[in-house]
Symmetry: C2
Subunit: 188 residues, 2 copies
């Protein structure tokens, strides 16, 4: 059941009482999208943050020439949104779309603040999650600065081995920051 799974996810980070959990959980609503549908589109307001129950997503941008760049892949147990737009109440600069049929728990911006101020444990939950997210972004920056394309590819395979079977190589290339031709030539 969804609430059990979600509670387990939270309790991996902080302690929470039944009462607190029920209160927190009441603010989340479930959402389903099919493959190719958009969770967030460039230029739209971003009023929700999403916890991914199942599925696979890509968060990306498109430049003036139509070239796409993958910021991140989202999958089960990951949180996602266009956080810049979500926080600043501005319009999305990113797109998030479903690579597979997906399910989410959604929390509105104001409801998230309510939860964090009413249930201090949840402020700590999101604090710790945000800090971990930050360090993983740091690792990605360092990887882009210091590693060769081949090293980045090998590290990605090591980190998310199953991802390779679930997405086209083109998207892996867009994540690594190389052309699909160069990625194709790595393995040979």
């Amino acid at each position: 059941m969804t609430s059990i799974k979600f509670r387990k996810h939270i309790e991996e980070v902080i302690a929470i009482t039944d009462k607190e959990f029920d209160y927190v959980f009441s603010f989340f609503i479930k959402k389903r999208l099919k493959k190719h549908q958009f969770l967030i589109q460039k230029g739209s307001p971003v009023n929700y943050e999403y916890w991914i129950l199942k599925g696979l997503l890509k968060t990306y941008t498109i430049d003036e020439n139509g070239k796409e760049y993958v910021l991140q892949f989202g999958m089960e147990n990951y949180w996602t949104s266009d956080y810049l737009a979500f926080q600043n109440e501005s319009l999305a600069t990113l797109l998030i779309d479903c690579i597979e049929d997906s399910e989410f728990l959604c929390i509105g911006r104001d409801d998230k603040e309510t939860i964090c101020y009413e249930v201090p444990a949840m402020a700590n939950f999101f604090r710790i999650k945000a800090t971990k997210g930050g360090t993983s972004h740091q690792q990605r920056i360092l990887s882009l600065l210091t590693e060769t394309t081949e090293q980045r590819y090998n590290n990605l395979v090591a980190k998310l081995p199953h991802l390779m079977q679930r997405v086209p190589k083109k998207l892996i290339a867009q994540y690594l920051g190389v052309s699909r031709e160069t990625l194709s030539r790595l393995n040979s």
Copy 2:
């Protein structure tokens, strides 16, 4: 005075009472370092997070060939640490050293947790700060993926114009992920 400045910094994000602030502030200790001294060294334990009162720092790594890569510059009002090591209680993989004489407020790992659980407003403070830090790392990743060296340079100048006068171009190049020769040739 230090505590006034620090309180102002906190109150830009959340509300805090006198009593809470005094309690929180009591956990911080002041530290001073001179130019060229290290705040954090690769291979050492990282038990503190630092708020920069004044000065200028670079956070960087060195690869096997001795090549250096700047993850970020730290300056007044910024928070810094090797967060990966700080959180996991592991050894530093990064180096942080002072480009100018600097002053910090230091908070220990356990004391930070204490503050966050005793003063919920501080959990929200660090949550919001961590989230903002995360989005700025995201922007950096996107910049590395999508922009040319020249665009990245121009954006950095626009974002931190005074930085150019305070650090050698070599460090700017190490931050942008290009050789100093290439950076030098941009302006011509």
